[in-house]
Structures are given as structure tokens and as C-alpha cells.
């Protein structure tokens, strides 16, 4: 995954500015901030509130509502395991247990060296080729334990 830059207020304001004139832009702005900085820094909240004429509570409410927006730095690689029904039917729960052991983190956690975050998601749209796993934006299908280990072997 691309390296993230440390928080810069001016960079954040430039992102907000790039959406000027459009409506309902808080989600696109938050996506861009997360892409740039790796997570949504607490310092972003008052900046966004002021720029978009919202209360800080409203901004906080939006950030905390959506699973995608993270308040802390994530691992350099993010591994998402599908835990929904179609993948359950072909052994996703066993894969979850295996992945936790193999990566040494529990679901939702980040490894101590910051290399990897393991996350459970509900459906990656690859339901005929489960269990499905997404590593950053790369989708993998029919991931058994052997395939998982080969994917995990590439994580630095």
C-alpha cells in the first residue's frame, strides 16, 4: 500500500477546497483524507467542521458511523476477510481462525510491528469463489489455508 504522509492541516484544507461547489461532500473528503494520511486524524474534525459549516459533533458522528473510516493508523497492509454467509458456507470461519494464528493478530487488530491489519468484512462480491479475501485493493478467491499462507508470505 502507498506510504501515507503525516497530518498536514494545509493539505487537508486543499482536499476540502478541491470539492468546493459540490454538495454532500463529507464522505468523498473523508475518503481522500484517509487515502492521504492513512486514517482520520482527530485534528481533522474541527478543520472539517469549520470548512463545511457543520458542528464538530456532526463530523465526529459521520466518521464514527462508517466502518471504513479509521481513527488510528492501520497496518501497512490491510487484509480483509469476508465473513458473510456465502463465504461461511465454504469455510470462512475456519479461515478466520487460521488467519489470526498465521498473522498473529486478532480480527480488527494491527500487528505490533505495524505491518498488517486484519479485518472482517461482510461480502466482497466474490460469492461464487469463496472464501474471499481482499489485500489492500487486490481481491483473492477460493482462499484456503494454503493460498492464504502464500498471500500472507508477501506481506512486509
Amino acid at each position: 500500500m502507498a506510504a501515507h504522509t503525516p497530518w498536514q492541516r494545509n493539505r487537508a484544507l486543499a482536499i476540502v477546497e478541491s470539492y468546493r461547489g459540490q454538495r454532500g461532500t463529507l464522505l468523498p473528503i473523508l475518503h481522500d483524507l484517509q487515502h492521504e494520511f492513512g486514517f482520520i486524524n482527530d485534528e481533522a474534525v474541527p478543520v472539517l467542521a469549520q470548512a463545511l459549516n457543520l458542528s464538530r459533533a456532526e463530523v465526529h458522528g459521520v466518521i464514527s458511523f462508517y466502518h471504513d473510516f479509521k481513527r488510528q493508523p492501520q497496518g501497512r497492509t490491510v487484509v480483509k476477510l469476508c465473513r458473510a454467509e456465502a463465504c461461511q458456507s465454504v469455510g470462512a470461519n475456519r479461515l478466520v481462525a487460521h488467519a489470526e494464528r498465521r498473522l498473529g493478530v486478532t480480527m480488527g487488530g494491527t500487528s505490533a510491528d505495524g505491518s498488517v491489519t486484519l479485518e472482517g468484512v461482510f461480502c466482497l462480491g466474490n460469492c461464487a469463489l469463496g472464501p474471499a479475501v481482499m489485500v489492500d485493493d487486490q481481491l483473492h478467491g477460493r482462499v484456503d489455508t494454503v493460498r492464504f499462507d502464500s498471500i500472507a508470505g508477501d506481506i512486509r
Binding site: 475518503h31 466502518h67 454467509e85 458456507s89 461480502c123 466482497l124 461464487a128 469463496g130
Partner: protein, 526 residues
């Protein structure tokens, strides 16, 4: 080099669909290029959408004088052998399935929405046009708003997102509303497990959605559209944005569409991992940049939708059904289907199924036909014990119900729903009590929190299921409590999240009661 000296260029097709990529399609395409260059063969590699025979992905096709020959599933290691066997001339190979369009899985379908998917280059306007694309929009441009809406109403098209509301009536409501601006919002927040048709059509034939939305815009008088795509679909987001860029370039979007006086602007917005945003009012909140909490209805979004303006909210599969209705007429479309379920539905076979993928058929096909004639039974080879139809809020059905025809009313009569056309298959190792617990767990995780039956009820539901699974309390009493809770959730929730979570739970209890009466002795064994 003169043209006469050039050996004829051969066209290969390797899908760019996310499912194909998940099985290594990019590596296969790269290896085909390397091997062709090494042998000095002139090949053109088109990255098409998937035909929807997902167990064959990556499916490599070769254009031959007889038609496209199919080889799959191909791994990078197979590539040299394919060249050796003469696959460029369509010669035999263990991975060869003959002509793609003659493969029974595909040949026995009735493809209206997915007619071009897998065939065309998804990001070529020219290819789209050459395969009948934009014919519906061209006709719509010659019609009045009322005529377009009448055509869609007459076709019998109903919302493919799950609710099955007649699309033409929704359009008429928006069309009749008086406002300074109106919106078309496409719900591409396809979060139901077992569904992937929205993703596949957006990745394999994105212009059909541009066309369908533009027709809707002309019909109701909207100038701005949004496609709300879930963030779990980065490939669909990229393909859709590329298609929109090309459509602007070639005057199929923007000011003066195709030389007419109509204008329509279209934009992709990306969700942020909230299942509830597939609920239409919650999606509108999210598009406005707010928490995705559900709105009370009325007011209907058709009258007070996005930013309080009249808004058409339609699913991807509804909007992508529109071009063919306009191009070939309402009657053509209506002749497919049964009862009040007209037209076709791209059904999606997922989970523990041998031949998973897209099966577009007219309504009326039975579950049994889909599961066995197309799906080929379970992937594990064990008996199919249950299928969940219509997503995480849909019912679990046992084999005794596999004769149910795919029809909104027939499913409703069996306390089930067609939903978005997803079918998830489980073999006989499934524990239905665990599935019922998961339904509650999922609701607890994804509830927007607005109403109590859903927000708190789901948590209580998980607790009851934990007691049943542990066998620590008399099952009968716990099941009575659970039924009581289901009733409160079903009757007291604002939207389908809390309202339909009881459907998988109750159906699991009704059809698989043996899984819910767990002897205390079984606990130790687990």
C-alpha cells in the same frame, strides 16, 4: 512491413472482472503476452467483462472464424501448453469448452440485461454501439416524458433491489412532482452476501447503466445523477468512472446529449462500509454527507429525496433493464416472466455451489432448476441442505421448497423473498442455529441505530441464540422468547434491516427445528 506480409492478428479475451482477477486473470494475461511475443505471434488481448461462469475463471477466449472458443480455468502455468496445443486456431485442449456461446450454462439463459456482458470491451463506446448499445436512449430522445414512463410501466418492470415496487409508477411520481431540480440515484450498494450482479454489470458493461440512468433522467426531468457504489468494489468504481468519462467525451452525457436539448450530469460516489446504506433513505443521507441513518417514510423519496428534492432511487439491475425495454419495446420485455413478475432476473448462484455465477432467466424458473441444472449441485459434493435466498435478510429454505418458482408472489407465499436474486447454498454440514445467530449478529453490527427493536433487539437475539447454542436453558422457553422478539422487530422497525432480520431466523427454526433443540451433552463435544 507491408500489410500482406503481416500475419493475421488474433484476438484473445481475458476478463477484467474482479472475480476473474481474484483467480489470477492479470497474471494469465501477462503470461499470454509474454508467450505470444516469445513465439512472434501477433495477438491483441481484450480485457472483457466476465460471462458469469465463475467456476471457469479466468476464462480465456480466442476469436476464431467459427466464434469464440473458451478455455478455462487457465493458470499462468497452462499458457505455454495452450500455445503448443494450437489454441490460437481453436484446437482441442483439456481446458477447452468449445464455443463459448454453446456452453449449456450460457446457451440456456435468457440474457437481456447481461446480453453484452463478457462479449464487449467494457470501456469502448464503439463496442457498446456495435452491440446495440444506446439504441434505447436514441429512441427515448424521440419520445415525450409521458411516453417513456408509459413504456416502462407497461413492461411490468419492478424494482430489482428487493422490494419489487413497479419502476414506472415510481418514475411517474417523480415526473409529476413540481420542483426546481430532481435527481436520479442509482443504488449500487450491493451488500447482500450472495449477490454480485451489480458489480459484474458495472465492471462488464458499464455503459448500460449510464444509458438506463440517462433515460430515467429524461423521463422525469432530472439533470443530475449519482451512482452510490460500495467501497468494497474498487474495480467497479474505477470502471464506472472510466465509462462516465468516455460517455462525456462522446456526448452521451453532459450538455446536449447526442445532439438533443437534454442535459444530464452523472457522478460516482463511494460508500464507506455500511450495509444499511443499501436502504434507500439511508443511502440518500449518506449521499448528503451524513450518517447513514434511515428516514421515516412518508415523505417518499420520490417526492422528498436527495437534498429534499424529488428523487428516483433505483437499483442497478432495474436501471440496466430499462435500455432493452426502450430499444425493443415494453411488449418484448413483458413476454418474459410469469404472473406479476415480468421480464428476466440475473440470478446469482453463490456459496457452496459447483457452478457458481450469473444465470439470467425469466421469472418462473424454479430453485431446483437453478441449483441443479445450472449450478450442478454443491461444490463439496455433499447434499444441499439449505439455501438462503435474497440476501442476509432472506429466508433459509430446505429442499422440500426447491420447487418454488422464482416469482415475487410465490416466494412471499412461502414467507421468503426473491430479493436481489442472490442464492447462497449450504451443504449438510451447516448448523442452522449458528446461521440464525449470525443473522442477529449481522443486524447488531449493521443496524443504523435509529430504532430500538433493531438496535437493541438484535443484541438480545444474539444472547438468546447463545443460550440455545449452549443448551443452558430450556430450548422451548428460549424459542418462545425469540419468536416474541422477532415479532417486535418485524412489526416495530422502520426499515427492512430490523423488519426482515426475523425472516432468516424464523425460517431456520421452522424448517430446521432439530438444530435448535440441543442436548446439553452436545456442548462438551463441541
Amino acid at each position: 512491413m507491408t500489410e500482406a506480409m503481416t500475419a493475421e492478428q488474433i484476438t484473445l479475451y481475458v476478463p477484467r472482472d474482479a472475480a476473474a482477477l481474484s483467480m489470477g486473470a492479470d497474471k494469465v494475461a501477462a503470461m499470454l503476452r509474454i508467450e505470444a511475443d516469445r513465439r512472434g505471434v501477433d495477438v491483441r488481448i481484450v480485457r472483457n467483462g466476465s460471462h458469469g461462469m465463475l467456476w471457469l475463471e479466468p476464462l480465456v477466449e480466442v476469436a476464431t472464424p467459427l466464434g469464440r472458443m473458451a478455455y478455462g480455468p487457465v493458470t499462468p502455468d497452462d499458457v505455454a501448453g495452450l500455445f503448443d496445443a494450437g489454441f490460437l486456431e481453436g484446437m482441442a485442449h483439456p481446458l477447452c469448452h468449445g464455443l463459448t456461446l454453446e456452453i449449456p450454462y450460457l446457451k440456456n439463459q435468457e440474457r437481456l440485461t447481461f446480453a453484452r456482458c463478457g462479449i464487449v470491451d467494457p470501456v469502448s463506446v464503439e463496442d457498446y454501439r456495435n452491440h446495440g448499445g444506446f439504441a434505447g436512449l436514441e429512441r427515448a430522445l424521440t419520445m415525450t416524458s409521458a411516453e417513456i414512463i408509459a413504456e416502462v410501466t407497461e413492461s411490468g418492470l419492478r424494482g430489482r433491489g428487493g422490494a419489487g415496487f413497479p419502476t414506472g409508477i415510481k418514475w411517474k411520481t417523480v415526473g409529476d412532482a413540481v420542483a426546481d431540480e430532481k435527481f436520479i440515484c442509482c443504488n449500487a450498494d450491493e451488500g447482500d452476501s450472495g449477490t454480485f450482479a451489480d458489480r459484474m454489470i458495472m465492471e462488464g458493461d458499464p455503459f448500460i447503466l449510464v444509458e438506463g440512468m440517462t433515460i430515467a433522467a429524461i423521463a422525469v426531468g432530472a439533470k443530475q445523477g449519482y451512482i452510490y457504489i460500495r467501497s468494497e468494489y474498487p474495480h467497479a468504481v474505477a470502471t464506472m468512472r472510466e465509462a462516465i468519462r468516455l460517455a462525456y467525451q462522446q456526448k452521451w452525457l453532459g450538455h446536449g446529449i447526442h445532439g438533443s436539448t437534454h442535459s444530464f450530469d452523472l457522478e460516482v460516489r463511494v460508500g464507506a462500509g455500511a450495509y444499511i446504506c443499501g436502504e434507500e433513505t439511508s443511502m440518500l443521507e449518506s449521499l448528503e454527507g451524513k450518517r447513514g441513518t434511515v428516514r421515516a417514510k412518508p415523505p417518499l423519496p420520490a417526492l422528498e429525496g436527495l437534498f429534499g428534492k424529488p428523487t428516483v432511487v433505483n437499483n442497478v439491475l432495474s436501471l440496466t433493464s430499462v435500455p432493452v425495454i426502450l430499444a425493443r419495446g415494453a411488449k418484448y420485455y413483458k413476454d418474459f416472466g410469469v404472473g406479476r413478475s415480468r421480464g428476466t432476473q440475473p440470478f446469482q448462484l453463490g456459496g457452496n455451489i459447483r457452478h457458481g455465477g450469473i444465470v439470467e432467466k425469466a421469472f418462473g424458473i424454479t430453485l431446483h432448476e437453478l441449483l441443479y441444472n445450472f449450478g450442478g449441485g454443491s461444490a463439496s459434493g455433499r447434499p444441499i441442505r439449505a439455501v438462503q435466498v435474497g440476501g442476509p435478510l432472506g429466508a433459509y429454505l430446505p429442499p422440500e421448497h426447491f420447487d418454488t418458482p422464482k416469482d415475487y408472489e410465490a416466494f412471499a407465499a412461502r414467507e421468503a423473498m426473491v430479493g436481489h436474486g442472490g442464492i447462497v447454498v449450504f451443504d449438510d454440514t451447516v448448523d442452522m442455529a449458528h446461521q440464525a445467530r449470525f443473522a442477529m449478529e449481522f443486524c447488531a453490527a449493521e443496524s443504523c441505530g435509529k430504532c430500538t427493536p433493531c438496535r437493541i433487539g438484535a443484541v438480545r437475539g444474539v444472547e438468546i441464540m447463545d443460550r440455545i447454542l449452549a443448551g443452558t436453558a430450556p430450548a422451548d422457553k428460549q424459542l418462545t422468547l425469540l419468536e416474541d422478539l422477532c415479532e417486535v422487530m418485524a412489526d416495530g422497525s422502520l426499515c427492512a434491516m430490523g423488519g426482515l432480520t426475523p425472516m432468516p431466523v424464523r425460517s431456520a427454526i421452522k424448517h430446521f427445528p432439530e438444530d435448535f433443540h440441543r442436548p446439553a451433552a452436545a456442548i462438551a463435544a463441541e
